[in-house]
């Protein structure tokens, strides 16, 4: 006898739950819980991480991220405007930049900047500046595309209204288009901030002194010292302290945007 649509939906759902339960059970029975607890949940090791993991590592992660984000946002805006420019060389330059930095792993950019630039130009760059440049250069490529999409999402009538009031092209851009574009791209830009928070873990490539450790480096050092994976778990939780509220913020911003339309 053929099943009704409702019966079929129920059967399929039942099978899905069954498979899920099986996977969970297999992992629960197959895992060595004693080892897992020793490796990941060593309370003594965890306690020894505090307060430095917060006061140094977490703070540094936030500082590096914000430095990179600030620089990346400014550069991204310039690149977005260049991409939309009526001057062809500007467009080519911006497109070339974006394609290059989106296509190259951030890891290589960090190494090139951290070691290549000082050698090439015989200069010593402040560590924080290097971090800001490296994170910002990569982030700018992504943010430029996001901002460009935002600028293009502002209706053409807005520029026409601004121009008909006597505003110049640049003034219309600054006072009318860009403020609206940023409202539109606030959610994707916040996502970009989350991605940068995680990319800041690459800063270790530049060689850091103790006081400059960020979460990932801090966790890995503690891991070597203690022969326990607990620091990695704690460092991971610390990242979540930053990224979960940001993720929540993105959803709220998206809901607000949806309502405004």
């Amino acid at each position: 006898m053929p099943m009704s649509r409702r019966q079929r939906t129920r059967t399929v759902r039942g099978v899905q739950y069954g498979v899920l339960a099986l996977v969970v059970a297999a992992m629960a029975f197959g895992a060595n819980w004693g080892e897992i607890r020793r490796a990941f949940f060593d309370l003594d090791v965890a306690q020894a991480l505090f307060p430095d993991i917060i006061t140094t590592a977490l703070v540094n992660t936030v500082v590096y991220t914000l430095l990179g984000f600030g620089f990346g946002l400014a550069l991204g805006l310039v690149l977005a405007l260049m991409r939309l420019s009526s001057v062809p060389p500007y467009r080519w330059l911006a497109t070339g930049y974006i394609e290059f930095f989106r296509g190259v792993p951030a890891l290589l950019v960090f190494i090139a900047l951290g070691f290549g630039v000082p050698i090439a130009f015989q200069v010593v760059i402040n560590q924080y500046v290097t971090v800001m440049l490296a994170l910002g250069l990569v982030g700018a490529a992504y943010m430029a595309e996001t901002i460009r999409a935002g600028i293009q999402a502002v209706p053409k009538g807005q520029v026409e209204a601004a121009r008909s009031l006597g505003m110049s092209q640049g003034r219309a851009m600054r006072s009318i288009v860009i403020p609206q574009a940023f409202r539109i791209v606030l959610p994707p830009l916040t996502n970009e901030l989350i991605l940068l928070t995680k990319d800041s873990s690459l800063v270790y490539l530049l060689g850091l002194s103790l006081g400059q450790y960020e979460l990932a480096k801090f966790g890995r050092d503690a891991l070597n010292e203690n022969r326990s994976l607990t620091p990695i778990l704690v460092a991971g939780l610390c990242y979540l302290i930053i990224t979960l509220p940001l993720g929540h913020l993105v959803r709220r911003l998206e809901a607000r945007t949806a309502k405004a339309r």
Binding site: P155, Q158, A161, S164, L165, G166, M167, R171, Q180
Partner: protein
């Protein structure tokens, strides 16, 4: 304004052509609007009337021909178009208020950024113009919180706040619910009574008949006829004008046999 060899026209359009790629939308337009005059441009959609209006403040770049404003030639490549546009107010079909700014800020931003007026002066002028269009109680609202009719009246107030010499209206009531059209037309009528020079693209025949000094009928990118409303609307000389007017004034009586693909062609 008489220093330019006594050119009395507020707007003088001569030999205006406009093409979008292959498509020629305006095929040689000559039209003059005198100071204080209200000229209504009517015609079927696609006749080029909106394009003509947009060429007057150079939102569209004319392909050929000249546009002059009280003697200043806008189409001169060396003219500072931003300066000239300050003298022309424009009202759009879709209002185009700035959604991120409050009503009052919509009225003050160009005054402050373009004319360099101070905050207090700009707000005083803005409020005066809001009163003029009857939405003064909404000055701290955002455009999205207003009805279409209120938005369009704010848009008119925004243009007026720049003290323009003349106003262009591009189908200002076409996007409005029928019951809101009257408020906007009433504001425009009062503006006309106050002596504002106006060029209005519209489908509101009663407005054209009662308010316009002159009516221009366009079709297919040319001006078919122009004259006082009593003649162009009341007693049109051309068949195209008559056909258009009968369709607009009595849409229910439209005869579609012509459009229904006669067999054997």
């Amino acid at each position: 304004m008489t220093d330019h060899k006594a050119d009395e026209a507020a707007i003088r359009v001569e030999g205006l052509h406009k093409s979008f790629g292959e498509l020629e939308v305006l095929k040689g337009i000559d039209v003059t609007v005198r100071p204080g005059e209200v000229v209504c441009v009517i015609g079927p959609s696609g006749s080029g009337k909106s394009t003509l209006l947009r060429c007057v403040n150079l939102l569209e770049e004319p392909t050929a021909g000249t546009v002059a404003l009280s003697g200043t030639e806008l189409t001169d490549p060396d003219v500072d178009i931003d300066r000239v546009r300050r003298r022309i107010g424009m009202v759009f079909q879709s209002f185009n208020l700035f959604p991120h700014l409050s009503v009052l800020d919509n009225l003050t931003i160009a005054q402050r950024r373009v004319l360099g007026r101070g905050k207090d002066e700009a707000e005083r002028i803005g409020r005066a113009n809001l009163r003029r269009v009857g939405v003064s109680e909404k000055e701290s609202a955002y455009p999205a919180q207003l009805s279409g009719g209120q938005q369009q009246r704010v848009a008119i107030a925004r243009a007026l706040s720049m003290d323009p010499e003349l106003m262009l209206f591009d189908e200002p009531t076409s996007a409005l619910d029928p019951e809101l059209v009257g408020d906007v037309l009433a504001v425009m009528r009062r503006l006309a009574d106050e002596g504002m020079t106006m060029m209005v693209v519209t489908h509101e025949m009663s407005f054209a008949r009662e308010v316009a000094d002159r009516v221009v009928f366009m079709d297919g990118g040319v001006i078919v006829e122009e004259g006082p409303p009593s003649r162009v609307i009341g007693d049109p000389q051309h068949q195209r004008t008559r056909t258009f007017l009968s369709r607009v004034l009595d849409p229910a009586a439209a005869d579609v046999t012509e459009d229904s693909a006669p067999p054997g062609r």
